[in-house]
Symmetry: C2
Subunit: 207 residues, 2 copies
């Protein structure tokens, strides 16, 4: 049995299935060939223990021996320390992968998730649309020049950026062919497909 | 002369002064005692070189020998590798500092900055207010229990969280005394005060 455990909800409603962020950690473990197990925490009636591991009351968190780490982005960087497949060991390549990982979290998702939240809330005039378009345009320009964000090959930066960009609604406006092709390439990877199928099965099992 | 160079704008308007994110990197270098220099890039007429270093057309970025790294969060994690003062070397303490660094960027700032953006845009009914309040409440609960976010002492996680929370408008609603005290403690640190004064002087020199 592996020490590496991904904790996620025992069940979620239909809509977020396939997008709960345990998928990021599953995907990374699959890419890296790291053995892991998945355990459940109640979606309803979150207890004190949940908040001790994840102070915002969300999922996932990762345990690894006596380490417990929340935030999918932090979990990814933790896993990246274990596998060169996720992050190059040379300083320049490692810095490239690190900067693009944080860019996905703090430059793209920082706009795309609140934008999506406002859309879902039924906002008629989404005040974040222009900002999101600008961010997506910058990413499109970069992806137009190269296949991978960092170090000339797949890294954890592609994993997180593709997971941020694959939300259909986020890509629903504008014509960004390089981004479309990038998301298609990343989500065709066997490690993504396994992670996605496993998450869907995990939540379906609790129905 | 140090290899470590923080690149920021040559000038910015009054409003963002004291909040441009080169301050995070200056603050971290000051805390860690890492020698560094600051160089300027034009705020107006950003050139191709700017976008080569920072593909979203923002500042700062950090150079360190042949490494160039953008995203202030990534720059902080890069600096944290150089100094145990910023991130503990034991795996549990390191994971705590990492998770709270990402939490500041992807759980708190991911809501606070778009919220602030909508406020600045003159939104009458800011659709992100409830979400921001919930995030701030979770942080308040944690800060009510302890003085530091990670490892029982100052780390880079406190630096980034305090920088996110010190935006006055973000803390203007609700009564969160632990958060207020935390921000006051962090911004009283000599390293913050020096970083802040240096940034103000840098932009004032270009007026």
């Amino acid at each position: 049995m592996s020490d590496l455990t991904i904790w996620t909800y025992d069940w979620v409603p239909e809509m977020p299935r396939g997008f709960v962020r345990d998928l990021r950690l599953r995907w990374a473990c699959e890419e890296a060939g790291l053995p892991y197990q998945v355990k459940s925490t109640p979606f309803k009636d979150k207890g004190t223990e949940h908040f001790e591991h994840q102070p915002f009351g969300q999922a996932p968190w990762l345990t690894d021996g006596d380490i417990s780490i929340f935030e999918s982005g932090a979990g990814l960087l933790h896993l990246a320390r274990k596998s060169e497949k996720l992050m190059p060991r040379d300083p320049v390549g490692g810095a490239e992968a690190l900067q693009w990982t944080i860019a996905a979290l703090n430059s793209v998702e920082m706009v795309s998730v609140p934008w999506w939240f406002l859309e879902m809330s039924g906002a008629e005039d989404n005040g974040l649309t222009g900002w999101l378009e600008s961010r997506l345009d910058h990413v499109e320009r970069v992806l137009n020049e190269r296949d991978w964000l960092a170090a000339g090959r797949f890294t954890v930066a592609d994993l997180i950026m593709a997971d941020v960009l694959r939300v259909e609604k986020v890509r629903a406006f504008g014509d960004r062919p390089a981004t479309e092709a990038y998301v298609a390439r990343m989500t065709e990877r066997p490690a993504f497909r396994k992670a996605h199928a496993d998450q869907m099965a995990h939540f379906a099992a609790a129905d």
